[in-house]
């Protein structure tokens, strides 16, 4: 382990504390504290273990849940799609055979893996956390080094509880000041991705810092870190602070009593040192960020809601111009048109980005006393069974149902359309999810990423619009 007195970043400290061994060429055997497993990217990994006669090294550091493929409608019925059913049954067989703790489909705690991990206190500050899913970066909100891996690496972690990696570069994105009303963590993150681009963070771990980040609650920090991957970064981090500790305290799998206090002392020591070196620094002014949506087919295609869609003639590079034209064609938009006023067919509030209780409250605040516009299908898919239950205890389900929303069971749902929740070709969706790629929410579906409040505003007006105008009306 490198012993050094020079100032270190939050990432450097977590990394250093998990290096088992540094190999000759600088590749490190990095210890993994938590391995989260779901049904889609694990079957081939368990099969690999079986074929080579290996066991899961640390079942007590591994947790499995079903989320990607599960229906979000009536759970009392069997799963209709045979392939989805097989994948879920395969996970159940694997967790039983290898002794891995598991939240089954009908458990009250089932949900999206990146909602369940923090909610249960399975994901904790200072940890290394992996999962065969790129949005594992979500858990970085706790101040843990969390990143997505492929299935071969899932097998490697199952067998060895380690991963082979070289350290990433350090990037700090500071957002200073206070955001205005109606501006959420989602808008901050879309603004950041719009600034750095979808490959801006490649090879880096991003630490989010600055007063606007400190002011975010844990749900907001999770939204932010969740989409680090959309900026190309390996992971996103927020330094653990009192907000973090208050969130973690009392969670089912978190340390208790004196152990918790000791852990807090350790977690406090992880903050980046004064003068620590960052390879890349980016600063944004919170006041300049306004509610945003995407117009194209990459998360970097961001517009403030009062903005206009770009034109291929705006750029010099012919490849980039062709890309803009292709995105316009795919999205069914005209160069130069105002993005506000674009009619939507579907509104999806959910996903590991924006399906926590705070997200649902923000959407409900806009929806309350209003009704979903004609010809719009709007759905809310809570991030976990516990989120759903808590929302119902506050009467949020009633707000949504009265307004004409569907109120569904927890899962990944229309974020990626592996289950029956999909767009049909040509449908346009205001979505709180994380990717607006071609076909992401269903073949030829059109996605506009936005915050829960903005999605709710689109649902009740029937078009993309500035949520601040609706909120102003009710003030």
């Amino acid at each position: 382990m490198p012993v050094t007195n020079s100032p270190r970043t939050l990432f450097d400290k977590i990394w250093d504390d998990h290096v088992v061994e540094r190999l000759e060429d600088g590749t490190c055997i990095l210890y993994i504290d938590r391995h989260l497993v779901h049904e889609v990217t694990s079957p081939q990994a368990f099969e690999g273990l079986r074929l080579s006669g290996r066991r899961v090294r640390r079942p007590d550091a591994t947790v499995a849940v079903v989320d990607h493929n599960v229906p979000t409608s009536d759970r009392s019925k069997p799963i209709e799609e045979p392939q989805s059913r097989l994948q879920i049954e395969t996970l159940e067989k694997n967790v039983a055979e290898f002794g891995v703790p598991y939240f089954p489909l009908r458990s009250a705690s089932q949900g999206i893996v990146h909602v369940v991990g923090p909610e249960q206190g399975i994901s904790l500050p200072g940890m290394t956390i992996v999962c065969g899913d790129s949005h594992t970066s979500t858990h970085g909100a706790l101040g843990s080094l969390a990143f997505g891996i492929g299935t071969s690496e899932v097998e490697h972690v199952l067998a060895t509880q380690t991963i082979l990696q070289k350290p990433a570069k350090n990037m700090r994105v500071s957002v200073e000041g206070k955001v205005g009303p109606g501006v959420t963590a989602k808008d901050i993150m879309l603004a950041i991705i719009g600034r750095i681009g979808t490959a801006g963070g490649t090879g880096h771990v991003i630490e989010f810092a600055g007063s606007a980040i400190r002011d975010l609650d844990m749900a907001g920090r999770m939204t932010l870190c969740n989409m680090s991957i959309e900026g190309g970064a390996r992971a996103g981090l927020v330094a653990p602070d009192e907000t973090t500790f208050a969130y973690v305290k009392g969670r089912p799998f978190a340390p208790k009593g004196e152990a918790f206090e000791q852990a807090c002392d350790y977690w406090r020591s992880l903050a980046s040192d004064e003068g620590a070196y960052f390879d890349t620094e980016v600063t944004l002014a919170a006041e300049e960020i306004i509610p945003s949506v995407t117009w194209g087919t990459s998360p970097q295609d961001v517009l403030p809601i009062d903005g206009s869609v770009p034109s291929p003639s705006d750029v010099a590079d012919p490849a980039r111009a062709a890309q803009i034209q292709r995105a316009l064609d795919y999205m069914g938009l005209e160069a130069g048109q105002k993005i506000a006023g674009t009619p939507v067919d579907v509104v999806f509030i959910g996903s590991c980005t924006n399906s926590r209780l705070e997200d649902l409250r923000a959407a409900a605040d806009v929806v309350r006393g209003r009704h979903v516009a004609e010809n719009v299908r709007a759905m809310v898919v809570p991030g976990s069974g516990l989120v759903k239950h808590a929302a119902e205890a506050e009467g949020l389900d009633k707000v949504f149902l009265d307004a004409g929303f569907e109120w569904r069971e927890a899962g990944c749902s229309m974020c990626l359309g592996m289950n029956p929740d999909r767009l049909t070709p040509g449908q346009r969706c205001a979505s709180t999810s994380n990717r607006n790629f071609e076909g992401r929410q269903g073949p030829d579906g059109r996605t506009h990423l936005c915050s829960p409040a903005m999605a709710a505003a689109a649902a009740v007006t029937g078009h993309l619009c500035d949520v601040r105008e609706l909120v102003r009306e009710t003030v």
């Binding site: 590749t27 990217t41 990607h68 097989l86 002794g99 990143f147 979808t198 390996r234 890309q323």
Partner: protein, 208 residues
């Protein structure tokens, strides 16, 4: 995993940035519990129309590119989802080498685990190779991992960098689990460090 030593093959030009893994293999094909069989679904949205017929304008539906073993693209190849189904689909289609100005980290990593060599090269060089690729079947590229060069059809060579550990694994066709397991003693000793006492265990049956 198959070794990668030297490959002489047709290269398909795909002059597009940000080809994400959802494009390489859409989510609806991720329901498999196997690694093989995804080649027919690679780039499904661009390759087939709604009735499942091939779209003639898509490069991998054209001769000779339906036999391509090398893919050349623009920046940020493989961004988005971590799905290893993306390299599995490429491999099953027949692709063994991908060349681009830059790659997304997880995809880059996943390629090596499956015997696919990803080569980052400057955009100008990718443009030259893209031009070579457009010449079709008379214009094969040779990718020599041993010497770390690409030989163009005109005989010119282009050197490339590859991480020595990963190069070794590809040349020998090794996967790394066995190698890491040889460090079991170090891993065990790490697990017993007193500084790690705070990390709770998740015991079987406690998940509810």
């Amino acid at each position: 995993m198959d070794k990668f030593t030297e490959l002489t093959a047709i290269a398909a030009p795909m002059p597009t940035e940000n080809i994400d893994t959802d494009q390489i293999i859409p989510a609806r094909f991720l329901k498999t519990i196997q690694r093989t069989g995804l080649g027919k679904s690679a780039f499904a949205a661009q390759r087939y129309d709604a009735d499942g017929n091939e779209k003639p304008d898509f490069v991998l539906n054209q001769e000779p590119y339906r036999h391509a073993e090398i893919l050349i693209t623009y920046d940020n190849l493989g961004c988005g989802s971590s799905r290893e189904h993306a390299p599995w689909a490429l491999l099953d289609f027949g692709i063994r080498c991908v060349i681009a100005p830059s790659f997304a980290d997880i995809f880059f990593n996943n390629c090596f685990k499956n015997g696919i060599l990803p080569i980052p090269l400057p955009r100008e060089i990718c443009d030259e190779l893209m031009d070579d690729a457009r010449q079709g079947s008379n214009s094969r590229l040779t990718v020599d991992l041993e010497r770390q060069v690409i030989v163009r059809p005109n005989g010119e060579t282009i050197a490339f960098e590859v991480d020595p550990f990963r190069r070794h694994m590809l040349l020998e066709g090794l996967d790394d689990i066995g190698q890491t397991m040889a460090h079991d003693a170090e891993i065990s000793s790490f697990e017993h460090r007193p500084s790690r006492a705070w990390v709770p265990s998740i015991t079987i049956g406690t998940a509810k």
